[in-house]
């Protein structure tokens, strides 16, 4: 009894400490929360310093952040451009800071696309904090389970829908986190170290990537060498898009041809896998949460199982999924719907160095490719386009991010679309995670609908 209390106290104390460190970090000149200057930053800083002094006096060891910036894939200088944020980003930062007491790495990366980030944060807030069928602690539990890819038992339909939405949300979030190489937060495993900086330059957060600084050098040199190559990549891609646009009306593939293109794409997607496969996957301490340790993504037809094609025209988000979610978990359908719309329609009409490009074809190809991997078919789409527009390294990346996010490596991230901007790669990730979420939701909701009828 007494022990328990003591442990409890120790825990709250440690929380307090980590909270303080959050402050120290923000006040410590990294300039992050200066963006959230709606709050009195200078005062925060002063007090944080004061309190850190207290901590020193108490002899508590101070952890030091590992990693370099919010993402392991994207150089820090690309992300944090102090003072360059516009009013919208500023508001988002302020809100996000207000909600968490700090700016988490996901937010800092996602803010490349503020319009989406806003919708994302709103949805996440609603799912976790607002009125809903599931008690709060269940939500977090399911969220964690979602990150670990474990399924949950079901309860009432409303609770089930809530759980399903949470699971899919966190599945997607996992994809984003690994897809963009989000660094662990300071309070997480691998986010900090107690070692003094000089002891070793070994970073255990970089398990998948080896030494960070070396990596960066490689990228730079690789980038220099292949500038012309990748320049042509973009040109070639745009040329293909133009061709497809033009000959769409002329060349008419037969129905059989169209059907087989989908099947080919679907089948191929199963075999798209990175040669990095053998690379050690991070030994995360999550296995204890699984009963079945072999649990994870399985290619359905690799195992000789035939899964019937899911036809969007028979069950789609707009007509069916939305209504079901909104019926059982009011308002969430609306939020997710908005999020899908924003992610699907988001465009800046740029491609790498080119401006005023209609990217809708490319975006649709990415979206439909992901759905294709999940066996979802659009009657009105020519899956031949995918092959034209998405090259192998891109497919490897997509497949890995969507199906086995924990296996994404920096090499994969770097090797596709080499000439594109980081913000564009983050944009791709948004498409990936939303398409994944929709695909998962569609299957789950269709099952629920069938159960109901």
């Amino acid at each position: 009894m007494r022990l328990a209390t003591a442990a409890n106290e120790a825990y709250t104390a440690s929380l307090a400490v980590s909270e303080l460190l959050g402050c120290k970090q923000c006040g410590g000149g990294r300039g992050r929360t200066r963006k959230a200057s709606g709050l009195d930053h200078e005062r925060l800083k002063l007090e944080a310093v004061e309190r850190v002094e207290i901590i020193f006096e108490l002899g508590i060891r101070i952890p030091r952040p590992l990693g370099h910036g919010p993402s392991r894939f994207i150089p820090e200088k690309e992300i944090l451009q102090v003072g360059s944020e516009d009013a919208q980003m500023h508001t988002l930062f302020a809100d996000s800071f207000a909600a968490l007491g700090r700016l988490d790495n996901i937010t800092l990366v996602m803010v490349f696309h503020p319009q989406y980030l806003e919708s994302f944060l709103k949805t996440q807030h609603y799912l976790l904090q607002m009125d809903g069928p599931l008690p709060l602690h269940y939500r977090h539990y399911i969220g964690i389970m979602g990150l670990l890819k474990a399924e949950e038992h079901s309860w009432s339909l409303a609770e089930l829908v809530h759980a399903v939405v949470l699971l899919t949300h966190y599945h997607s979030l996992a994809s984003f986190t690994f897809g963009c190489g989000i660094s662990p937060e300071i309070h997480c495993d691998g986010g900090h170290t107690f070692r003094p900086p000089s002891v070793s330059n070994y970073c255990f957060c970089d398990i998948t990537n080896g030494n960070h600084s070396v990596d960066e050098m490689q990228v730079n040199s690789a980038g220099n060498v292949s500038v012309s190559d990748s320049f042509f990549e973009v040109e070639a891609l745009m040329e293909k898009m133009r061709q497809l646009q033009e000959c769409r009306d002329e060349e008419e593939a037969s129905q059989e041809e169209m059907a087989s293109r989908f099947e080919i794409e679907k089948r191929e997607s199963m075999f798209v896998f990175s040669s990095d496969d053998e690379e050690a996957t991070p030994a995360r301490d999550v296995s204890r949460h699984f009963e079945d340790t072999s649990y994870g993504y399985k290619d359905f037809s690799r195992h000789g199982m035939h899964v019937p094609t899911f036809r969007v025209q028979d069950y789609c988000w707009e007509d069916h999924g939305y209504s079901l979610v909104n019926r059982l978990y009011p308002d969430v359908g609306q939020l997710i719907d908005e999020k899908f719309h924003i992610a699907y329609n988001l465009t800046y009409n740029t491609m790498a160095m080119h401006k005023d490009v209609d990217t809708s074809m490319l975006r649709r190809a990415i979206w439909n490719y992901i759905h294709c991997m999940f066996g979802i078919r659009y009657d009105d789409y020519d899956y031949g386009e995918i092959n034209q527009l998405l090259d192998r390294s891109f497919k490897v990346y997509i497949k890995t991010v969507v199906c086995t996010p924990e296996k994404v490596t920096k090499r994969m991230y770097d090797s596709f679309w080499r000439q594109f901007k980081h913000s564009e790669k983050v944009h791709v990730n948004l498409l990936l995670i939303e398409a994944r979420m929709q695909a998962e939701l569609l299957y789950a909701l269709r099952a629920i609908t069938r159960y109901m009828t």
Binding site: M1, E9, R51, I55, A98, Q313, S323, T453
Partner: protein
Amino acid sequence: MEKMSRVTTALGGSALTGRTMHCHLDAPANAISVCRDAAQVVVAGRSIFKIYAIEEEQFVEKLNLRVGRKPSLNLSCADVVWHQMDENLLATAATNGVVVTWNLGRPSRNKQDQLFTEHKRTVNKVCFHPTEAHVLLSGSQDGFMKCFDLRRKDSVSTFSGEALGGQSESVRDVQFSIRDYFTFASTFENGNVQLWDIRRPDRCERMFTAHNGPVFCCDWHPEDRGWLATGGRDKMVKVWDMTTHRAKEVHCVQTIASVARVKWRPECRHHLATCSMMVDHNIYVWDVRRPFVPAAMFEEHRDVTTGIAWRHPHDPSFLLSGSKDSTLCQHLFRDASQPVERANPEGLCYGLFGDLAFAAKESLVATESGRKPYTGDRRHPIFFKRKLDPAEPFAGLASSALSVFEMEPGTGSMSWFVDTAERYALAGRPLAELCDHNAKVARELGRNQVAQTWTMLRIIYCSPGLVPATNLNHSVGKGSSCGLPLMNSFNLKDMAPGLGSETRLDRSKGDTRSDTVLLDSSATLITNEDNEETEGSDVPADYLLGDVEGEEDELYLLDPEHAHSEEPEYVLPQEAFPLRHEIVDTPPGPEHLQDKADSPHVSGSEADAASLVPMDSSFSLISVSHALYDSRLPPDFFSALVCDMLRFYAEQGDVQMAVSVLIVLGERVRKDIDEQTQEHWYTSYIDLLQRFCLWNVSNQVVKLSTSRAISCLNQASTTLHVNCSHCKRPMSSRGWVCDRCHRCASMCAVCHHVVKGLFVWPRYGPGAPVAVAEEERCTVERRADLSYAEFMQHYAFSRPVILQGLTDNSRFRVLCSRERLLASFGDSVVRLSTANTYSYRKVDLPFQEYVEQMLHPQDPLSMGNDTLYFFGDNNFTEWASLFRHYSPPPFGLLGTTPAYSFGIAGAGSGVPFHWHGPGFSEVIYGRKRWFLYPPEKTPEFHPNKTTLAWLRDTYPALAPSARPLECTIQAGEVLYFPDRWWHATLNLDTSVFISTFLS
């Protein structure tokens, strides 16, 4: 009859006949369309495309249009339409974006006529021109509408649904106007509806937002030129008058699911049929003027209905439908179910003074009690009655009787209910105490029957344990002369009574060793036997009296049987004490008494006494005399009776009693009352509690309820509305950042971080700063315009009060700003005192230095006597220029003269509990929290610890009854504290304040 003849005319002499029927299709249907002869219907879906003849008794398959060995996606139909002028002409919209026309007149098996592959995405809708033979319109997911002339190979014109800004929106429906030759309407996924002139593809004639979310369907009224009905995913059907300058919504029907199709009913101006795409399988026919209850309902389908069509454009009684459940149905209007028939129109409303008006169907009321329907009096003027519109179809059904139940004056008082609810104890103490407490409460409120019930419950459920003890003592005292069989566990050991009592006395001396020896042989037996009577079991008590100073947990560990006893709320040590006190009175030894008095458990604990108090003499008599029978009767012997009793109370309307007993007895009776009844009681009681704003009690009841349906009430719909402390406006998005003034509403007094949960006390570990949340709790009255007489009468000598709006010190406030003060008095020396109860140490310091160096938030770790604080000891000559601008509260007390004390202190600082003469304290800047106790109630505190420390360490553990009066004084408010009241203060912000002592 009249209608019938009209139908006949319309149909050219051949009235339709038929019955409600259905036929099975091979696959789910996506759409249906009727031939103009009203004798054939075409069904289309992903893998079905057939024409059926509608015969008298059945559907007969006439033609399968899906020919060819390899089914093509061109045949995967999203929509189908049959030309209303040409019986041979059909068009389909394919999911792959192809528009196909079909000519039934072709001699070959394949009737496919033309193929238009202009759309890039799924085509959602096709529509023929009502009067033009060759004009076909299509609307597609790609955001375009195309108009085809069937005599040409390509589309004639393309209409883009692109809204301003470029994003093309999917077209969900297109419909030619029936009356205007050139007009068609289109609906979009973004909620818009557009009106087009077929000759003007460059821009739409009109556009408006009709729904929130996709508009799935629209239908022009067959007669009314300008009426367009639209149905959306937002579950609404809206009727728009398009003849006016701006589209005007004339009717709106709220359905229960997204609206997939809408079709006006022929010959019935206000009727339309709808079906849904999800969840709801029924087809409804609505009278748009009666938007709440459908006029008719067809419930044949087992999956969602995907297509509906009236069989003949002038016959209102035949409706055809296709569904995902692979059936095609013909519905006859006369077979439809009419929900309005099933409804019992009833209305109930409370008046201002508790009168209750009840309106119900006449037939229901009149037969019930022979009561005469209410005819109205002058208090309820009859002109409020709505005039009935004879044209309305439900007028006949809606006639009702109105009864009004008036309150008799004085009977409305429910104070007993409120008092009872507030004072009852429902958990947290042993059953016996709860019963006694509640009995006492009931008796004090004059509810003797209830009080008696509680007492009886106590006897039934709690006495077995106590009574044996008394009994034992009696037997010992009387040398066992009574010869009664003892029901104490010691009997069971086959020992002589005398020996048994000796054993127990030995043990109570603390001789644990002999204890074990003696108990050894029968320990199991004892515990087993005692299990039912844990409440009074003495075995654990002995452990307690022995040398085991252990915690409760250990006790339970020593006695695993008890850990599983059926009374989880039972607290062993407390319950054990009555035994000991009983023993005190027995002869065996004054030294024994001594022995016990030394025990810290006995001497120190007030709980002992408390548990003894209710045992008045009469009660023990009862228990003694009935003990014999009790002992043999297991407590659940009575449960049937108790349950009856609960039902009795519930039926009497005292659901409070039923629920309270239910909670207090818990498992003992729960299983004997069915879940539903319990739930019903709980909900009734909670509802009542909430009507009386007894939120806390209701919450407690919810929490204590064992019914799952009830306890989950706490998990949902708990919305907290917070207002900004600066601008007083509600903060909607987040509870602690105001959107309007862009400030954090409440900051921690110490670390100046945002306090998010105003309702939680953040508890940090040692060493970390304490965040002081400003609790909403305020138990001091606030009075805005208090007169002096009132002040003297109600407050001056009896209790504190917060005065508002008595004086205007805005000028003084301006002078007290940091800059002004520093400018005027920066060099003046101020005398600082220590912030503890007895403040002796004084430090002199220039004001500027104090402000700059010492005005920091309170360190929660430092002691009060080490903390310097600027308050009082003011040099009035130096500061006079400031103080003369202060207007003190206008209330004086006879024989006192006011004296000012001015102070400035950092957040988190404050003076711990102390008292002195009466006075006022006004906050100029910041906020100050006060904790007050009346003179007779000395608070528990350490004189050298800061208020902050007290708040952190002592306050949270205070029982509600031991809490101080408390409040937060905002800038501009004045607190009056009477003579000798204990008080402690805490500055929530860096505060400037001035006190006026009356001494």
